[in-house]
């Protein structure tokens, strides 16, 4: 009743009834993997809420103070005001430790959800036209999330994060020509300088979050406008969306998911300790702790720094710093390739002006793309493991150098082997000629009204037939039984029957 009156009231002033009605009617496809992005969104909400609370207690100051608080072992020690305020947050503020740990856990899960979301988008081909813009925005969001994770991690000014900042300073130094200037301007002078904590704070609570919220809004608006992709299935075509209506089913479920995400983060923050900075102690440039690892999302860079072989190169008469290849060139390349991927994929699949794709593919239907993705993921997982090579060496009692060499070999071999395995697995799983191996998205087009250029269709049909014939050659079943499978798979096959028939003609 109140809601109705409120809507009437706003409509009298700014209109919007039509929009609200259409919005409530909007259909969202249901699939568990579509929730990964939502989980990231809800983590961000938790991050903002807990983060605002933390700002009430955190003092972003490098000023040297002597600790006199309630935690005995640190009493009388020199530390920065920033570190003291975070220790105080843990010991003297009610629920302060809980909120700080929930905040930190939310950041870890946030990035986890983002990476899984990225994988989902990649393996189902959801980045293809017309969704390239959201692929770019999503990558920018991931970069910003990593940046904010690192800056937030560095704020407490504890021994572990201070060491991380020292490495970041070295990485800045290693940039050609402007490296020393970048390092000096960022830190306000030669390391450790005094300005970095207060600057990171502004970056962490203002600049990056503003960018994240802005880009995320565009990200979601584009999803809203383009409508979500969906997997193939009964009655699902390139021209419709099948799923639950926003109101009330989808909204209820999504709010439910939000609450469950908060619950999981609260449980983690309350029950699973992480980053106990009071045990690490305040940062002192001459101190360091062993078995030091960064947050998980920096693990690939840590591994790259550890596994990259040492080299001495002089270029144009200058000594090339060691950090530049693993810590500057490599991550730059990583993101450059990710950003370029939709274009590369278009080129590889011959869809330069290609058709729009609203139906997703299953990973098995694209053995090569899936294998490439799996191989790349394996590469980064090995790097991540390399970030803890000292711990492996300790636990398994293997000499450190042996572990390093093994990991270097694994870094090359594992992606190839596991990628090949994934390829093989996809081929075997996809033997039943699906309602559309090859290029299933064209299948929907065949039935659609606004057909793609004929040349396009012809090209993809040819590709399709070759895939199909090789698949049937390997499979024990005859063409006839393959047809039976494709027809038995429900109404979809009926709609695609024309294209199915054409495959058989081709073979």
């Amino acid at each position: 009743m109140i809601i109705k009156r409120f809507l009437r009231w706003t409509d009298d002033r700014i209109g919007g009834t039509k929009f609200t009605r259409k919005a409530l009617d909007k259909v969202f496809p249901d699939h568990w993997s579509f929730m990964l992005g939502e989980v990231a969104l809800y983590c961000l909400m938790v991050l903002i809420a807990t983060g605002v609370y933390l700002t009430f207690f955190f003092h972003a100051s490098a000023q040297d103070v002597v600790y006199t608080g309630s935690y005995g072992p640190l009493r009388g020690q020199h530390m920065s005001e920033a570190y003291r305020s975070v220790v105080g947050l843990g010991f003297d503020v009610r629920a302060g430790l809980l909120i700080r740990q929930v905040h930190h856990w939310a950041a870890l899960v946030f990035l986890g959800a983002i990476v899984l979301h990225l994988c989902r988008i990649y393996f189902t081909g959801a980045y293809r036209r017309p969704r390239e813009i959201n692929w770019f925005i999503g990558l920018a969001l991931m970069l910003l999330a990593i940046a904010n994770g690192f800056t937030g991690y560095s704020l407490p000014d504890d021994l572990l994060s201070g060491t991380g900042l020292r490495i970041a300073y070295s990485v800045l130094l290693s940039v050609p020509v402007i490296g020393t200037w970048m390092a000096y301007l960022a830190f306000g002078g030669e390391f450790p300088a005094n300005d970095i904590i207060s600057r990171l704070y502004v970056i962490h609570v203002l600049i990056v979050p503003a960018l994240i919220v802005g880009l995320l809004s565009v990200h979601l608006a584009i999803v809203w406008r383009q409508k979500h992709t969906q997997f193939r299935g009964p009655d699902r075509t390139e021209d419709n969306v099948v799923g639950s209506r926003l109101w009330p089913t989808y909204a209820m479920r999504s709010i439910g998911l939000l609450l469950v995400v908060v619950a999981v983060l609260a449980a983690l923050g309350g029950l699973v300790q992480l980053n106990p900075i009071w045990l690490y102690g305040p940062y002192q440039p001459a101190s360091v702790s062993t078995a030091a690892q960064p947050d998980w999302y920096m693990g690939w860079l840590e591994g790259a720094l550890r596994l990259f072989p040492s080299f001495r190169i002089h270029l144009f008469g200058y000594r090339v710093p060691e950090a530049i290849l693993p810590a500057v060139v490599f991550p730059t390349l990583t993101f450059a390739i990710l950003f370029a991927w939709p274009a590369v994929d278009r080129r590889l699949s011959g869809e330069v002006d290609g058709p729009d794709h609203h139906l997703l593919v299953r990973p098995r239907e694209r053995p090569r793309r899936t294998a490439l993705g799996v191989a790349v993921l394996t590469f980064y997982v090995v790097l991540f493991i390399g970030g803890g090579q000292d711990i492996i060496s300790q636990k398994l009692h293997i000499a450190l150098d042996t572990v390093t060499v093994l990991l270097r070999i694994l870094l090359i071999v594992a992606p190839i082997a596991i990628g090949a395995l994934a390829w093989r697995l996809c081929r075997d799983l996809a033997v039943e000629p699906p309602p559309g191996d090859g290029d299933p998205d064209d299948v929907g087009r065949d039935g659609g009204s606004d057909g793609a250029p004929d040349a396009q269709l012809g090209g993809s049909a040819a590709r399709r037939s070759s895939t199909f014939s090789s698949a049937s050659a390997r499979s024990s079943s005859s063409d006839a039984s393959s047809t039976a499978i494709s027809e038995s798979s429900a109404p979809d096959a009926v709609r695609n029957s024309s294209s199915s028939l054409r495959w058989i003609d081709d073979t």
């Binding site: 010991f91 290693s174 050609p176 000096y184 002078g189 969306v241 440039p285 001459a286 060691e322």
Partner: protein, 268 residues
């Protein structure tokens, strides 16, 4: 309904626990989790089993403009051609915009001092006494046989770039680079504690293999041969200090490090 009631109860319990004071992180976390989780599960079950509604289908409407709309837009854009026509006016505007852009980023210069030659030098210099982390002068006899002592130049205790480590080895094992024969009085060696790889403190010393180890990325350096890197990602030796034992038995240096300390930048 059960889930929602549990949630309500847990939320009330959280408030009670919070107001009763004390730091009960685990209990508070668990209660919050119950409160949120109960509500969430309740809503999802409600949505899935009680509301239903089945699968709905909605058509995708093409977002693309029709050719006619595109022509209309082009016509509107065409009005802007008067801007392009005045070439020199347009170029002046671009120049003004570019200059303004440069003017706007130039305040970034205030963020820090010029690197200058600061990176090349530390507080060490001829005659500077070696002091420990508490500022007390270090005597040659203070350095244990297999141990490692972190030291600073007198007057700059805690300086990140000047930190150094002292180790003592058997002088007969030494193979120092040429010109450093007198830098290790009595087998005492002083090296920069800043790793040449990524700048972490080289804080571990394995006395039996005479290697300094950086715990960050596992580079190790052979102290007998001028701290050349033995394994790991570091490529350059740790800079060495020319140590001198004074008449009073206290340690001094006769100059700055053999090289600029820490990881490299693009230096000639």
């Amino acid at each position: 309904m059960v889930a929602l009631l549990v949630a309500a109860a847990a939320a009330v319990a959280f408030v009670v626990v919070f107001w009763s004071g004390g730091r009960r992180t685990q209990l508070e976390g668990a209660l919050l989790a119950l409160a949120f989780g109960g509500s969430g599960v309740g809503l999802v079950v409600w949505a899935n089993h009680l509301i239903g509604g089945g699968e709905q289908s909605e058509d995708r409407t093409p977002l693309r403009a029709t050719p006619e709309e595109i022509r209309e837009l082009d016509a509107e854009l065409g009005r802007g051609e008067v801007i392009a026509r005045r070439v020199w006016l347009r170029r002046s505007a671009v120049a003004a915009g570019g200059a303004l852009g440069i003017a706007l980023v130039s305040p970034l210069r205030s963020l820090g001092p010029s690197p200058g030659k600061q990176l090349l030098h530390t507080a060490w210099g001829d005659g500077v006494r070696v002091v420990a982390e508490d500022g007390t002068p270090v005597a040659a006899a203070d350095v244990p046989a297999d141990g490692l002592v972190t030291v600073f130049p007198e007057g700059a205790v805690g300086a990140a770039d000047a930190q150094a480590v002292l180790v003592r080895v058997d002088p007969s094992l030494l193979h120092l680079p040429r010109g450093r024969d007198s830098w290790a009085p009595g087998g005492l060696l002083a090296y920069s504690k800043v790793c040449t790889h990524a700048g972490c403190p080289v804080g571990l010393y394995q006395a039996d293999s005479h290697e300094l180890l950086c715990p960050c990325h596992q580079s190790s350096f052979d102290v007998l041969r001028g701290a050349v890197p033995v394994s790991g990602p570091a490529a350059w030796p740790l800079p060495q200090l020319p140590l001198v034992v004074g008449a009073d038995g206290l340690l001094r240096v006769s100059g700055d490090f053999s090289e600029p300390v820490g990881p490299g930048w693009w230096k000639a």
